[in-house]
């Protein structure tokens, strides 16, 4: 009991953490290496990933200890509404920022005249139409629905099998989406539809690449939380991390709708020009 309290003071008030510094150093190394020795860019990325792994390890250790302290102080197992869920607000903040990025991507498309009525879209983007785009849309929306289902179950029965099933489905669908996303880039590059020197194609690649980047981060986060649930390390009635990932994933689906309407269907049009 005494050791938990001593740890509690250290954990709550002041703890050493090297993970943020490792991540930041990795990023600055990346900024230098990518401009000077581009083919070694993967090295600082490994440093960043190592920092994130260290972060996860520190956070998990901290949460386990703090969780025990909370239970000791409360004298009983905590109900969901007694558990701090700053994760909700943090997740909402990250999700909102992601949404703004999609709106900016639309601005980039607009700057290259692609959101005008009757705009001349680049040749070769026909690859994106038809079954490929529809499949990606179905996968994205279904994955978001599964993530939302996971949150609902996590709030009512955090340790239950239904949460794991829902997250597993969301993860599988997300991985399938990423695979199709990668395939579309391969097909475009294979057909010579690349952005070099072309502003319109640059804007299209930006919109697609931005979404793919966020989707990759979302899949990684979903896989991490899913693995934690499978290993049984998530305390009962703890919906926070699942909620963060689900918020991110739902925002991804909103972003995908915007990207699909513009890049795939050319259906989103801005009627006015300011600049």
């Amino acid at each position: 009991m005494a050791s938990i309290h001593i740890q509690a003071e250290e954990v709550e008030k002041d703890a050493r953490t090297f993970a943020p510094a490792v991540v930041a150093v990795g990023l600055v190394l990346f900024s230098v290496v990518v401009t000077v020795w581009p083919r070694w860019s993967w090295l600082p990325i490994l440093v960043v990933l190592a920092g994130l792994a260290l972060w996860a390890r520190e956070s998990i250790a901290r949460r386990v200890v703090v969780r025990r302290i909370e239970e000791v102080h409360a004298g009983h197992e905590l109900a969901p509404w007694e558990v701090p869920t700053v994760w909700w607000f943090g997740g909402a903040g990250f999700a909102f920022a992601q949404l703004v990025f999609y709106l900016v991507a639309l601005r980039v498309l607009h700057a290259h005249g692609l959101l005008e009525a009757g705009a001349a879209w680049p040749e070769g983007l026909g690859i994106l139409r038809g079954l490929h785009g529809i499949s990606m849309t179905v996968l994205m929306l279904a994955s978001a629905a599964a993530a939302a289902w996971a949150v609902r179950d996590a709030r009512s029965d955090g340790r239950g099998a239904r949460v794991r099933i829902a997250m597993g489905i969301a993860l599988a669908l997300g991985l399938a989406f990423l695979a199709l996303s990668a395939l579309q880039f391969v097909r475009l590059a294979g057909a010579g539809v690349v952005p070099a020197g072309d502003g319109r194609l640059s804007a299209v690649y930006w919109a697609l690449g931005l979404h793919a980047f966020f989707a990759t981060a979302g899949v990684a986060a979903l896989a991490f939380v899913f693995a934690r649930h499978l290993a049984g390390h998530v305390p009962p009635q703890r919906a926070g991390p699942v909620a963060v990932v689900a918020a991110w994933w739902i925002t991804l689906s909103v972003g995908w709708i915007l990207v699909y309407l513009t890049v795939y269907l050319h259906a989103l049009v801005f009627p006015f020009e300011i600049v």
Binding site: V28, A97, P195, S202, V275
Partner: protein, 523 residues
């Protein structure tokens, strides 16, 4: 028998305890030290610039070096000092004001600090390696594209700003989560300390606007290094997209630099004016109004481009409108001073200085909000005077006021009052010597960012240079004050400024009512 457990023996603090910590107070102190160091760097570059401008023609450097210096000066001052500095104060004060032990995500807080540190480090290393940006802190295309500015200076500028902006974005998410979720159930939004309100609004500003700059920087980097054509120089619309994206962030960013200073002034006035704040509600209303309108002004940086006249009119109207809300705040402050028994402590002097200098900067800014006048004054020294009065007059003075006011809270020592007052007066004199004559130069047509000028403008340029060195002397005095206090200062408690009925963040709704209210839990 005494315990032999080594955990009972207090451990000496190491530097690592301050740099690699989840403790938000320590992170905040390091954050403030770092951002103030970047302020000193920016000032050093400015002194070199003023050394060149003390006389027409080449004095101590050529035009290329001058371009590098104004780029670095603006970058360090705007991005590495003015934007992030108040988040350092928030890291110290906001948890205490809310009665909690820490921010919502302590490791994220540490990451934000480290991103700002490494972002600045990228630029400083580039400086010493001769890889320096030359396109100004605004880095307009097509000048900043690879055919025109080769070398690594511009690329490292992009990365440095990217990391700083990303760190600020993460900090905003952290403080929104902290303020909205971790405050006690009894602390409703309308009962929050004003500084906490200002940090909440500031964080909202950043979370909406930062993705625009991050995108703009990413596209610039891709164009410079990977052959893309986002900013195709042959397309006017593509070229202006940089300005659109840049200013959609950077104009609200000026309110990121301002709003926390509003909160700090309110807190200080509540403490030292000898009477309650005139109206908590009006200050909050003014701050919210400024926040909302700040998103509709960015085209006023583009009046001299080919943007549609309707956009110019829209931006001009909103520029006037936002001054109404900042005026509400200023007049509420003045009403809070009226018939008060003012204690002229150093923080109070700086707060009064902010009110005056911000009013000057706001007034000369309204001139530029009028489109035809801006067509003449744009990119002249009038503009330089405007943003220096606003940013120096609010952000720098606000930072100094907050340091003097909250130094006992963070480090349990009080800065010397006599040295502080000397610092204040030297700063005010130096600031007005340096920036007021810029109005005259602007009206006479002297362009900004020029390395040479007409000899008839020499007189005012000399005065400005003298003013810059007076500011430098004042800053050295301030640093000496800090060093002496840390070395020999006596330990003091939280109530060094006198007994209080309010939390350390000051200016709660209770300060607008005659009766004292209970202190926030844990404050």
């Amino acid at each position: 028998m005494p315990s032999r457990d080594r955990r009972d023996v207090p451990r000496r603090e190491a530097i690592a305890d301050w740099l690699f910590t989840t403790n938000s107070t320590r992170t905040g102190v390091v954050w403030l030290a770092a951002t103030f160091l970047f302020f000193v760097f920016g000032g050093y570059y400015a002194l070199q610039m003023r050394g060149e401008l003390i006389a027409p023609g080449e004095t101590i450097m050529g035009p290329d070096r001058y371009a590098q210096l104004f780029s670095l000066h603006g970058t360090f001052m705007a991005f590495f000092f003015a934007v992030p500095v108040f988040f350092g104060f928030a890291s110290i004060v906001v948890p205490r004001a809310l009665g909690v032990t820490n921010v919502a995500f302590p490791r994220l807080n540490s990451l934000d600090l480290w991103l700002i540190l490494v972002g600045a480090l990228t630029l400083e290393v580039g400086y010493f390696l001769g890889q320096r940006p030359e396109a100004g802190w605004t880095s307009y295309v097509p000048l900043s594209l690879e055919p025109y500015l080769q070398g690594l200076g511009e690329d490292w500028w992009v990365w440095g700003i990217f990391m700083e902006t990303f760190g600020t974005l993460l900090a905003s998410i952290n403080f929104i989560a902290t303020i909205l979720h971790k405050r006690p159930p009894t602390m409703l939004l309308r009962r929050m300390p004003i500084f906490v309100w200002s940090m909440l609004l500031t964080s909202i500003l950043v979370i909406v606007a930062a993705p625009f700059l991050l995108t703009a920087l990413s596209l610039l980097f891709l164009d410079r290094n990977f052959g893309t054509a986002f900013y195709d120089p042959t397309s006017l619309r593509a070229v202006l997209m940089w300005q659109d994206l840049f200013w959609f962030y950077s104009h609200p960013a000026t309110y990121v630099m301002l709003l926390p200073a509003f909160g700090i002034v309110s807190a200080i006035l509540a403490r030292f004016s000898g009477r309650p704040l005139f109206s908590y509600g009006l200050i909050v209303l003014g701050s919210v109004g400024v926040t909302l309108f700040s998103f509709f002004l960015w085209w006023h940086h583009m009046f001299t481009t080919t943007i549609d006249m309707r956009a110019q009119a829209f931006a001009s109207f909103n520029t006037m409108a936002v001054s109404v809300f900042s005026g509400i705040v200023v007049f509420t402050w003045l009403a809070s001073l009226w018939r008060g028994r003012i204690r002229f402590t150093t923080p109070m002097l700086f707060a009064l200085g902010i009110i005056l200098m911000f009013t000057v900067g706001g007034a000369n800014g309204v001139f530029m909000g009028y489109v035809p006048l801006d067509w003449y004054l744009h990119d002249t020294y009038w503009l330089v005077a405007h943003f220096h009065y606003i940013i120096f007059g609010s952000t720098v003075l606000g930072t100094l006021a907050a340091i003097y006011y909250w130094f006992p809270l963070a480090l349990h020592r009080q800065l010397d009052e006599r040295l502080g007052k000397w610092h204040f007066w030297l700063t005010i004199v130096g600031m007005n010597l340096a920036f007021f004559p810029m109005h005259f130069l602007g009206m006479d047509g002297m362009r900004r960012r020029v390395w040479d000028y007409d000899p008839s403008l020499t007189g005012w340029n000399v005065v400005i240079t003298v003013g810059a060195f007076v500011i430098a002397a004042a800053t050295l005095l301030f640093l000496a004050n800090i060093a002496l206090t840390l070395w020999r200062g006596q330990h003091v408690g939280d109530e060094v400024w006198g007994p209080t009925t309010i939390g350390p963040a000051g200016a709660t709704p209770a300060d607008a009512e005659p009766e004292a209210s209970e202190r926030p839990e844990g404050a």
